[in-house]
Amino acid sequence: MIKLSEIVGRIGAFDLLSKIEGNPGVFDSNSIYDVMSSAGVEDPDGLYNDLIQNGIVTQYGRYYSLSSLGAKTLLLLQAVNGEDIELVYRRLAGIYPELRHYELVREGMVLKFIHDLYDQPNFGRIYFCSPLINLEKKTLGRLAQALRWAEERFGKRTVEVLVIHGAFKGDEKEDRPFKETLNALSNLGAEIRIHPKYPKLHVKLYIREPSFSGGLLRAVVGSQNLTRSRNIELGIWITNDSEMIGNLIREFYEIYNTGEKYN
């Protein structure tokens, strides 16, 4: 089976794709051969067939244009050929939304984070830092399932879950819902630390790290506790910015190491 790189690596292929991308709705079956000829393509019929059959170029009525695969391929070729990486990356993020580094999130950022774990359970480590942690049964159920799927991929290895919770009030009734969630998380294998009373923990930070087989690097920094919220909340959703998230993980550990083990 022919590889994509072998198709677009042929002489004239890059120029052809650039011309089609720059002039949508211009080239028909006659003029496309003219472009190939001027680009120095040695086997126009062969290249034409490969581009069409592999879905890089598509035909709309009379005219040809790049498919989304073709557009992505061209961007990567541009990067290889020396174009500004940041510019290429930004344009790729337009096609792959999940490549966007930063996004504003509002109320529901916490649920969104947990749903994200559930929908894409290829993670190796999760970090939860929140003064208050109280998850509903449904949300805990999703988290538990996400962990099971993640561990299933790992075989014998386990997924790490690190949790920092704020100091308890000392009132049994008030602290109970938080302790119930922490106990459930502990049963799921989480390593939990309780932050000292002073200085008061106020950070809300949630991070997922990929597994050894890949996955997303993601973090949420915001105003929402790991609880259901009726407040107006705002946060930043960070994806794949390894430098920034690496810094956040370091901050997490600094806080984590000051805490006392729970249970």
Binding site: A144, Q145, R148, N187, L188
Partner: protein
């Protein structure tokens, strides 16, 4: 006589016929010499006290009182120990039917999705949250079945479509695309009947541990397992395999009460003629096999009296009704048999077949009542019969 009075009003009854509902009126029991309910109950106690789940095979002619006896036993069992009774009428089968059809269309349908999945929910609640390996280990310990654990584990996921698990457990065919979601490579449609029997036993075990009740399956009309409509020689073994497991004395979690119409032992469906099944039920009188014969003569009078007493309206002024009826006939009327005269009862008995069944008696009584009513009579006399 005013025909505007109802049948009930004319004859001092609470209902317009004498037809007993064997399920809803199981508490009613007319004494009969061939079936000692006291002995049956005593034998139930014996089984329970030694840790066995009672299994009984009740057979007899059509209309003889098998279903009523089954439900009476169940009611008595309920007084001794908490039970979860489930009545199952044998579904329509064909010569190619296997135990799967009885399992799916009879037993699981009657148990119901809410009940069965509810048991699994309760078990999961008990286990709580745990790491995958430990969670599955605990679930396997509870269910005793590793493959089933993988499927049941999905119930903890709030996004999981529960109907998939119900389809799997209940023996319905599951689409290939749904099997991986249940952690399975095949559904139960190709499972051995012994595995299906184990599913039933598991449900019994969970009923005991989660609800503190004994699951009682009342499998009625099991004569359908015999010819002409029952399973053929190629598939009969699947039933035998399953029943061997279900009625085994070592099976202590599900009580099985079987009802089967047969005139004689030679008429039993092949499954129940086999020593493999009946031997496990046991042949101790009143324990394994219970024959419900016809009503013999002294029993018929007692039966009729009990029926009349059961259906009599407690608020009716029977004495007045008898007095009023007496003026119109020379036949003997007493409180025991009113709204029938003594002579009418004798004539009724003469009309019935040699071996009388409760159904035959109650139907005939009901029809005579109707006839007397339409003839404007205050009592059923021998000429009505």
């Amino acid at each position: 006589m005013n025909q505007q009075t109802t049948v009930e009003e004319r004859f001092g009854l609470a209902r317009s016929n004498f037809v007993i509902n064997p399920v809803s009126e199981a508490d009613f029991w007319a004494p009969r010499s061939d079936v000692s309910i006291e002995l049956l109950v005593e034998n139930l106690r014996v089984d329970l006290v030694i840790g066995l789940a009672p299994k009984r095979f009740i057979w007899g002619r059509y209309g003889g009182g098998k279903t009523h006896t089954l439900h009476k036993i169940m009611r008595e069992l309920e007084k001794i120990t908490p039970i979860h009774p489930v009545h199952i009428d044998c579904p329509d089968l064909s010569r190619r039917s296997t135990f799967l059809e009885l399992y799916r269309d009879g037993i699981m349908r009657s148990l119901g999705e809410d009940f069965v999945l509810g048991l699994f929910d309760a078990s999961l609640e008990e286990i709580g949250y745990a790491r995958r390996e430990e969670f599955l280990r605990k679930l396997k310990e509870t269910l005793g079945d590793e493959e089933l654990s993988k499927a049941v584990a999905r119930l903890q996921d709030p996004n999981f479509d529960r109907i998939k698990l119900w389809a799997f457990i209940s023996g319905v065919s599951v689409g290939k695309s749904d099997l991986p979601d249940l952690g399975q490579t095949q559904d139960l449609t190709s499972a051995e009947s012994s595995r299906l029997a184990e599913m039933i036993i598991l449900i019994g075990r969970l009923t005991r541990t989660n609800l503190g009740k004994t699951l009682v399956l009342i499998l009625d009309e099991m004569d359908r397992l015999g010819p002409p409509s029952g399973p053929g020689p190629e598939t009969i073994m699947t039933f035998q395999t399953a029943f061997r497991r279900l009625v085994d004395p070592n099976q202590k979690t599900v009580s099985i009460l079987i009802g089967c119409t047969a005139e004689a032992r030679a008429d039993f469906p092949e499954i129940f003629a086999s020593e493999a099944v009946m031997g496990r039920l046991g042949r101790d009188p009143g324990f394994g096999e219970i024959e419900i014969g016809g009503l013999v003569d002294p029993d018929v009078d007692r039966f009729i009296k009990s029926i009349i007493e059961h259906f009599r309206n407690p608020d009716a002024d029977i004495a007045s009704l008898i007095q009023s009826a007496s003026s119109g006939t020379s036949e003997t009327i007493n409180e025991d048999f009113f709204p029938f005269t003594v002579e009418a009862i004798a004539a009724l008995k003469g009309r019935l077949s040699q071996i009388m069944t409760p159904r035959e008696v109650t139907l005939t009584m009901s029809r005579l009542l109707g006839k007397a009513y339409l003839l404007n009579k205050p009592v059923v006399t021998s000429d009505v019969v």
